[in-house]
């Protein structure tokens, strides 16, 4: 249950301040940290850590690059803000978007850049340090002066400055001592990362004060605004805004960030771990519907990876390098092979084999090893092929009108991993649309496809013929102009598409689909058909859904059951915990067959809870107590119907009272005034 809490808390948060704490919290989720010694020697765990390290580094790198790119023009603005004398305070309003996962990192990064590139004087004002104007100003001036003393050898030690003396006149004199002659490079930059949570009154007065000092002190502001720019207008009245001169900067929306992150790190032929369609959809849903938080998306993937590897050493084979696979297989024990044999896809595979093979597969580890190895290598090739060709498909169809297969790579991916995309109706739509495209368009597409293939596979073995055909087609298109258009024989149209058998059929298909009566085709149109035919052929070749091949589970994780862990439902969680403690305690003492049964071994609160489920709106405490006693020790309550001895074992009564108190604390019941020694039940019908 606690675990549930942390999971859920770490989700859906675009409250950006505490992202760091939270990420730490959520990293506790992984079983490794608390009981390291237990796993640390397991093969699968080692492989897991390696993989996660690698992916995480990639991710970190990518994000930091993104922010740097984003802040460049902001920095430009800051650097020139005071080039010529200003009447108003130059102010940069940075629209960070409500839920960029790590504003914190971004602003720290920004501060660092300003410090290095522009000016040593940067003050960072957090709302919680600036509850009053006095605090704000003292805080700011302290930062300015301290920083300068740190990196300037001119050692003013701030200790002998009284806090009450930290006023702007002091700052001014400090500044004038520091820069007897005014130069360009000594702005005083004030960064306010969380504008919304600031006390606007304080901020207003602050701005007024600063503006009165502007001639003497070259101040400039950077406001981090999460919502939208008119927050700035609504929170500042006329006489304050007139003191500032705001320029607006936008971070790119987090959806863009997500796409970059996915394509850069996870949905790539270099990532052995592949997300299955269902899980991937789940994550995207969480992202789009609940929080725009990329960080949480990554955390979810991490969770999935852990879940994936937890299956056992079989998952250690989740490698893209064939030699690694070999080595791992060498160290595999019999148990490990059994672990592999338990994979669902293996069963399918076995059944498809002839009988004697089945025996060998099931018994002979050596033989099994060979098979596994070769199958794994097939999958490795498949994954590479899959992603590269999918990229080609993506470039081909992403910007078609209406984008039948979706505008984003992730959408196409989600589709392709779950069903054969090249046979889908959406794909056919795409083909029709493509069939109307100009030569130019087609040509460009082919070129970019060619580039993609080239860049992804140095050794062209896998895509060899694909590439060649593309090149030929490109040539054809090139010297198309030279040849004259000549008439072409009519085609008789017969319908029925599905798997393409030969180009004739294919062509006719296309024609019939594009509702135009067959008319003579010119040269280009013929080539176009060839092109589409060729592409479709290869798409169908490469873009099969993974579940077709044995051992795919080793690379593809598609266990939707993690949903309950990813999306926390605290109410049901609590209900589970109380109704079936075994579910969390994992103790065999209180396993129950059906949810009604109550065991004495259960914790008192569970017993009380389960009993109270049977009651109506009002619960008679006495009856409740009796029922409780009946459970916890039956023999005592044998004679509880004769009213003669009413005295209850005080310890049991104490336990009962505590249980009731706990339930009340959890908000299931509340003591009612209406009826004596009754309590009201608050959760009617659980």
């Amino acid at each position: 249950m606690v675990d549930q809490e942390t999971v859920s808390v770490s989700k859906g948060i675009f409250v950006f301040r505490n992202n760091f704490k939270r990420s730490k919290k959520s990293s506790k989720k992984q079983p490794s940290k608390p009981k390291k010694d237990e796993f640390s020697d397991n093969l699968w765990y080692l492989k897991y850590t390696d993989l996660w390290e690698e992916l995480n580094n990639k991710y970190e790198k990518l994000t930091s690059e993104m922010f740097t790119a984003m802040t460049s023009d902001l920095l430009e603005f800051v650097s020139i803000s005071h080039r010529d004398p200003v009447a108003e305070i130059p102010t940069a309003a940075l629209l960070t978007g409500i839920n960029m996962p790590d504003h914190e990192a971004q602003f720290i990064n920004l501060k660092r850049q300003i410090k290095t590139d522009i000016t040593p004087h940067v003050a960072f004002l957090h709302s919680e340090d600036c509850t009053s104007l006095k605090y704000l100003i003292e805080n700011m001036i302290n930062q300015f002066i301290k920083d300068s003393t740190e990196d300037d050898d001119d050692n003013v030690n701030t200790n002998n400055l009284k806090k009450s003396d930290l006023s702007l006149p002091l700052l001014q004199s400090w500044y004038e001592h520091m820069y007897p002659v005014k130069t360009e490079k000594n702005l005083l930059v004030v960064i306010v990362p969380d504008f919304e949570s600031f006390n606007t009154k304080v901020l207003q007065t602050f701005i007024l004060i600063i503006s009165s000092y502007l001639p003497k002190l070259p101040f400039m502001f950077v406001f981090g605004i999460a919502t939208c720019i008119n927050t700035l207008h609504t929170s500042f009245p006329y006489h304050v805004t007139s003191k500032t001169n705001v320029k607006v900067f936008r971070c790119e929306p987090s959806t863009v960030h997500l796409n970059k992150m996915l394509e850069g790190v996870f949905l790539s032929p270099f990532c052995p771990f592949q997300l299955g369609g269902k899980v991937f959809d789940l994550f995207t849903e969480i992202f789009l519907y609940y929080d725009f938080s990329v960080r949480n998306f990554v955390q979810n993937i991490k969770f999935a990876i852990m879940e994936h590897f937890c299956y056992g050493n079989a998952m250690a084979l989740c490698q893209l390098n064939r030699h690694d696979v070999k080595e791992i297989l060498e160290v595999f024990t019999h148990e490990d092979f059994e672990n592999v044999r338990h994979l669902m896809s293996f069963r399918k595979f076995v059944e498809s084999e002839p009988y004697e093979n089945q025996i060998r597969l099931l018994t002979d580890d050596e033989y099994f090893k060979l098979i596994v190895h070769e199958k794994i290598i097939i999958i490795q090739r498949y994954i590479r092929g899959f992603h590269v060709v999918l990229k080609c498909l993506y470039t081909l169809v992403s910007d078609l009108p209406g984008a039948p297969l979706g505008k984003n790579y992730r959408e196409i991916y989600a589709y392709a991993v779950s069903k054969p995309i090249a046979q889908s109706n959406e794909y056919r739509e795409c083909l029709q649309l493509l069939n109307f495209q100009s030569k130019k368009y087609l040509y460009d597409k082919l070129m970019s496809i060619k580039n993609i293939i080239n860049e992804f596979s140095k050794k062209k073995t896998q895509f060899g013929d694909f590439l060649n055909e593309i090149c030929d087609l490109i040539d054809l298109l090139n010297n198309l102009d030279s040849e004259a258009n000549q008439e072409v024989e009519k085609m008789d149209s017969n319908t029925g598409m599905g798997q393409v058998t030969d180009r004739k059929a294919f062509k006719s298909n296309l024609l019939s689909r594009s509702q135009q009566k067959p008319k003579p085709l010119n040269k280009y149109e013929k080539i176009r058909i060839d092109v589409l035919y060729c592409l479709t052929k290869h798409f169908q070749l490469f873009l099969v859904e993974p579940s077709r091949m044995p051992f795919y589970e080793i690379f593809f994780f598609d266990d939707i059951s993690i949903k309950s862990k990813i999306i926390g439902m605290h109410r049901s969680a609590i209900h589970n915990a109380l109704n079936d403690p075994n579910h969390y305690l994992q103790c065999n003492c209180c396993e129950i067959s059906n949810s009604q049964t109550i065991k004495a071994t259960m914790p008192d609160i569970c017993i009380a809870y389960k009993l109270h489920l049977e009651c109506g709106k009002m619960i008679n405490l006495y009856d409740w107590l009796q029922a409780f006693l009946y459970i916890v020790d039956p023999k005592e309550s044998d004679d509880f119907d004769d009213k003669s001895n009413k005295l209850v074992d005080p310890e049991l009564q104490a336990r009962f009272t505590q249980a009731v108190a706990e339930l009340e604390y959890l908000g299931f019941i509340k003591s009612s005034k209406r009826k004596a020694d009754h309590v009201a039940r608050l959760t009617w019908g659980g």
């Binding site: 808390v9 859906g12 702007l168 919304e196 009165s212 919502t227 987090s254 992202f287 725009f292």
Partner: protein, 429 residues
């Protein structure tokens, strides 16, 4: 006629009479100054700049204080004393000329310092009313208190009668700086030319004046504030000159120039006072990006804030049965347009009501999970909702929706939700 006086008048066009009056008061330094002078006038009508220029020109010892800076009276007193004593703060020690945090000590210091014939200028004087009770009367009678011929000048935007919250305040000498007239504004803005020369090539003063004429004809109605107008005129002049710099137009075809600039003027009319050089002219509400369910939560919050709870049944349940028209409904129908809920501001609502509405307006059914709960608190964090109940209590919290109608409209448009249909203000129309 004094040399300085001429210079002053020259550098502050449209302020001759005020300068003359001030000159009468302070022009001859041997003679006593008026003990107190209250100068009222709108922002950027040259109050403080003229005063300081005058005092400098006459080399009168003076201290200029802006009260917004003085969040404690300590700062006020000490910085006055610093300035009058010409004390330089040493950044290493940071000590003021004298530590002083009450009027009594302040007066003593003044008496010690032989300050006869010096002046204290207090800007944003209206703030005095919010400080210790004795400061306003104290500064108004500083001469009596100190027996030193030191005079105090108050600068403020509001009329002096606003200070009569306590009786028996001595009337000071008063002087009003009226807003500039259109012509005066033209004169002053014309001084900008030197600043703008480098901005655009190939334009002379007359050209600039013509531009200003055009400019003022548009903006003068909505704004008389000099600094704002200057800001706008500078911003737009650059645009105004573009066609000339690109040699599409010459300086002389003013008609074409007007055609070119007028849409831009109307555009920048919309951001008047807002000071955002925001090139994207699309309505601001639209760049509020929220996750799907959060959008709905916000909409639900808005509905909860602007509908009375008793209408919920009628609005959100499909079959609320035949509703017999009561007189109240009839009245509601012909409710005067400016007594609508949407004008009376948001009312508070409980979390339960919010969620109830949320689920009823959301087509696809979603489990009640923690993500949703977390988003409510996030909305509060972002000030889109505000917590209307004591934050320390965890149960039955109350909230208010902070977004205005056009924002919520654009949000609901994004998710294809017809908000008017669910607002009791509009639903009956």
């Amino acid at each position: 006629m004094d040399e300085n006086l001429l210079i002053l008048k020259k550098s502050f066009p449209g302020r001759a009479s005020q300068i003359d009056q001030l000159w009468n008061f302070f022009g001859t330094t041997r003679e006593p100054f008026p003990p107190t002078l209250y100068i009222s006038g709108g922002s950027s009508t040259g109050k403080s700049s003229i005063i300081s220029a005058l005092l400098k020109a006459l080399s009168i010892k003076h201290a200029m204080i802006n009260l917004v800076e003085c969040y404690t009276s300590k700062i006020l007193f000490e910085s006055i004393l610093n300035q009058l004593s010409g004390h330089e703060i040493d950044p290493k020690i940071g000590a003021p000329f004298a530590r002083c945090d009450n009027l009594m000590d302040f007066v003593e210091h003044i008496q010690k310092m032989s300050l006869a014939g010096s002046v204290i200028v207090i800007d944003k004087a209206e703030e005095l009313r919010n400080m210790e009770f004795n400061l306003l009367p104290g500064f108004l009678t500083l001469q009596e208190l100190t027996n030193v011929q030191i005079s105090v000048i108050f600068l403020s935007e509001i009329a002096f009668e606003k200070y009569y919250y306590k009786l028996n305040i001595l009337e000071p000498f008063k002087l009003h700086f009226p807003q500039y007239t259109k012509d005066e504004l033209l004169e002053i803005l014309a001084l900008d030319f030197d600043y703008l020369e480098n901005v655009s090539t190939s334009c002379d003063r007359d050209f600039y004046r013509n531009y200003l004429n055009v400019f003022l004809s548009v903006f003068y109605r909505a704004c008389r504030d000099l600094s704002e107008l200057r800001h706008m005129s500078r911003k737009n002049f650059i645009v105004y000159c573009e066609p000339i710099d690109k040699n599409q137009l010459t300086v002389h075809d003013s008609m074409a120039l007007w055609k070119h600039i007028s849409p831009i003027f109307t555009a920048s009319m919309q951001v008047l006072y807002l000071r955002t050089s925001n090139d994207s002219s699309k309505p601001l509400a639209q760049n509020l990006e929220l996750p799907f369910y959060t959008k709905y939560l916000l909409i639900a919050a808005y509905l909860a804030s602007y509908n009375s709870a008793k209408d919920d049944k009628r609005l959100f349940t499909k079959y609320h049965g035949k509703k017999t028209k009561t007189r109240k409904d009839v009245n509601r129908k012909n409710k005067v347009s400016d007594k609508l809920n949407t004008q009376m501001g948001p009312t508070t609502f409980t979390l339960d009501r919010l969620l109830a509405i949320f689920y009823s307006i959301l087509e696809d059914k979603v489990g009640f999970n923690n993500h949703l709960l977390v988003q409510v608190s996030s909305l509060v964090e972002l000030q889109l909702l505000s917590l209307a109940s004591d934050p320390s209590t965890l149960d039955d919290r109350k909230y208010k929706c902070n977004v205005n109608f056009e924002t919520i409209q654009s949000v609901s448009r994004m998710v294809g939700f017809n908000i008017r249909k669910y607002l009791s203000d509009f639903s009956h129309m």
